[in-house]
Each structure stands twice: as structure tokens, then as C-alpha cells.
């Protein structure tokens, strides 16, 4: 009898857990896309190139709900470009653009935390811009950037649940389908919550490990 009641639970759990792959996929795409966009825009902003455009982008993307951005890309963008956009592409674009706005601000704060004298020292030594950014400025900025970036990664992992509104079978969508099938919300939603928590917990652990490796052990910045 116990086995009979457990089976649907295990089945549902596995079914919902399978959605983890979809959630993870969108999280990684958004983080990668967002980091590329954010790094590029933060460097532009730092050098006062197209600052107004960058600020407008950040302001709009931070000032509107992600669900609105997602539906805009999925439903409105196709009418502008003239062909349908698959859910996967729409989700990737919307999440990346949204993450890009937050990451732009995170990286900007990191760059501003680096002493201006470091740029002068690089120029005085004739270090070319690419090496200056890669070897001198970003390694120092990362100490400030990383904790906020980790927060953004965790937030993103949870926000990807919005892709369920477009029918993508992520953790949330699978939990909703299971609930509808069994006429009970408690177990599917608790399972979904556990899955999200496990995901963010793992991200946090991974982040802490990475933080130790990436952030140099120097305690005072004012040299």
C-alpha cells in the first residue's frame, strides 16, 4: 500500500527534476550572454563612450518586469522581424538582455572600485589596453564584482521559471502539469521549490569555491 502511494510521488519527483536541465540551460545561457553584454557595456560606460545609450538600456531593462520583456521578445519581436521566434531563442535573448543590464552595473561598480592610479601606472609602463584590462584591472575589480555576480546568478536561476509561461518544460512548468494531473499542488510545488533550492545551493557552493580561486588574497587596496 505504502509502495503504491510512493510510486506516483517518485515518478512526479523525477519528472519535475528532469526540468532542472531546462532551468540550468537558460541560467547558463543568460549568465554567459549577460556577462558578455555586461562586460562590453561596462567598459564602454567606464570610458564614457555611448554612456547615455548604456544608461538608457540599463534603466529600461531594470525598470520593466522580466515577464514583460520575455513576452515582448516572444510575441512582439516576430512582428518586427517578420518571422516567428522559437521559445528557446526568445528566452535566451530576453534572459541575456535582462542579465546584461544588471551585470553592466555590477561590473561598472567593480571597475570604479579600482584605483585610477592603476590605469596611470599601466600607461606609464606602456602596457597595451587589452593586457591592462585582462591582467591588471579586471583581476582587481573581480574582488568587488564576484559576490554581486553570484547573487545575480542565483536570482537568474530562479527567474528562469518565467519561461514556463511560454510553455517550456522547466521545473516550474512540470510542477504545474503534475499538479493539474493529480489535482494536488502541495507535493509538486514543494518538489519544485526543493529543486530550485538545490540548484541555487549548488551555485552558491560553486561560487564560493570560484571566489577563492579568482579573488587574490590581498587585504588592502589603497596602495
Amino acid at each position: 500500500m505504502g509502495a503504491q502511494t510512493m510510486n506516483p510521488f517518485i515518478e512526479s519527483f523525477i519528472y519535475i527534476l528532469t526540468g532542472l536541465g531546462v532551468t540550468l540551460k537558460y541560467t547558463l545561457i543568460a549568465l554567459t550572454g549577460g556577462t558578455v553584454i555586461g562586460t562590453f557595456l561596462a567598459i564602454l560606460k567606464y570610458n564614457h563612450i555611448g554612456e547615455f545609450g548604456v544608461n538608457a538600456y540599463v534603466s529600461f531593462l531594470r525598470g520593466t518586469p522580466l515577464l514583460v520583456q520575455l513576452t515582448l521578445v516572444y510575441f512582439v519581436l516576430p512582428t518586427l522581424v517578420g518571422f516567428p521566434i522559437p521559445v528557446f531563442i526568445a528566452g535566451s535573448i530576453a534572459f541575456s538582455l535582462n542579465a546584461g543590464a544588471y551585470i553592466t552595473e555590477i561590473i561598472s561598480a567593480g571597475l570604479n572600485s579600482v584605483d585610477k592610479g592603476q590605469f596611470e601606472a599601466c600607461n606609464a609602463l606602456g602596457i597595451p589596453p587589452l593586457l591592462m584590462w585582462r591582467d591588471i584591472i579586471l583581476p582587481q575589480a573581480i574582488k568587488t564584482i564576484f559576490p554581486a555576480f553570484l547573487n545575480e546568478a542565483i536570482t537568474l536561476a530562479k527567474e528562469t521559471a518565467l519561461i514556463s509561461t511560454l510553455g517550456e518544460q522547466d521545473i516550474m512548468r512540470r510542477a504545474q502539469l503534475t499538479a493539474a494531473e493529480h489535482y494536488t499542488y502541495v507535493l509538486p510545488l514543494v518538489t519544485a521549490a526543493i529543486c530550485y533550492y538545490l540548484l541555487t545551493f549548488c551555485l552558491e557552493l560553486l561560487g564560493k569555491k570560484l571566489e577563492k580561486g579568482l579573488c587574490y588574497d590581498y587585504s588592502q587596496k589603497s596602495i
Binding site: A121, L125, G126, I127, L131, P139, Y216, Y218, S219, I223
Partner: protein, 239 residues
Amino acid sequence: MITVKNLSKHYGPQQVLEDINLEVKQGEVVGLVGHSGSGKSTLLRCLHGLIAHEGAILRNGRTGLIFQQFHLFPHLSVLENITYAPIKVLHQNVIDSREKAKSLLHRVKLWEKRDAFAHQLSGGQKQRVAIVRALMMEPEILLLDEPTSALDPTLVQEVTNVVKELKKEHLTLIISSHELSFLRQTVDRILFLEKGHLVCDQDVQTFFKGDPESKSKLFLSAFYKQNNFLHSNAEVTQG
């Protein structure tokens, strides 16, 4: 070694340097003095080519600049700080670069600190690392911006010794400083800047004799007053 013609620099409406003309010969050690805000640091940055300016600067050799606040790279060790640019910018061989770093660090008595980070060094040690970092780039002209301002008197002596060593090697040095006793021991000639104008260009003996007509007399009298004060205090302590 350096020829400056009609050099001017302004930040927005503020004129920082105006119509500076000067010539510095090879091996000459020149002190740059003046009140705070007179344009000393800006002049050094212009001489190095770090900032845009009006007028012409002809440099006959590579220029190195040592900053008042050192600006060592805090995430790199002393050895990495001083070998990074020679390896990445001058494309020197890693082993050769390290050998050179070793010899220079031995010279300034910092070899044992090669793996330390900037925050683990004293002000004098940071200054010496900054000097070595600039020397690693093999400059013919070395510009030092207030090299003693962040140092206590013992550490000033350390830097004085290093500068004297550099002078022996006939390196062209231009040193901005408020520390007149330091300049008296190290430089051949003094340039006095006032509100962005070069108002006095004299050899060191003449400068310290204190020409009553010179615009540097107020600056110099403050220096002598301070020295007399220190001297009389020392006598009181000894008495």
C-alpha cells in the same frame, strides 16, 4: 635629453602650466619645486607623455615615471610587479628579466621581499619597488613625482641613497619634491614653478644661497625657518 618648447596645459578653463621652456641635458639631475598646486606633477606627466598638452616636448630616450603614491599592482607580488612590463611590453626573455630583477632587487636590498605583496611592504620599500619597476623598463630619463612625500625621515634616507646611486650611473633624473634637504643632497639644478610658470632655473648652490630678488625666496625662507626650528629643538633636547 629633454627639450621643452612653449609647453602649456589646461584642464577646462583652469590653466595649470603656461609657456614652459626648458632643456635638460643627459645625466643631469634636476629638482622641481614649488607650492602645492603649482603644476609640478602635471609637468612630470607631460614630460612623460602621459597626458596631452600644447607645445612641443622632444625626448631623446625612453622615459620612466615613478608616482607619488607608487601605484604598485596590489594583486601581483614584488617580482611580478617589476617583471610584468618588461616581459609583456618589451618582450624580454622571462629568465633574463628575472635575472635583471634579481640584481636590481639586491641593489635596493629587497630581494628577500620578492614574493611579498604591496600591502606587506613599508612606504620606503614600496618606493624602492616602484623605482626598480621603472628601471626594469631601461629608461634613459627617470621622472620621480614627490618620491619622499609619503615617507618618514629614515625612509627618506633610503630613497636618497637610491637616487644617489642612480645619479652615479648618469641617468637623467627630474625629481619633484617639497623636501628641500633631500634635493640639496641629490640634484644639480633646481626649477621653481609658481602657478604654472617656470619662474626660476638655477644650479643648486645658487638656489640655496637664496637670491633676495628671486620668486622662490618665500619658499626658501620657510625651509630655513623650519631647519632653524629643528636645529634649535635639537639643541634644547641635547642641552
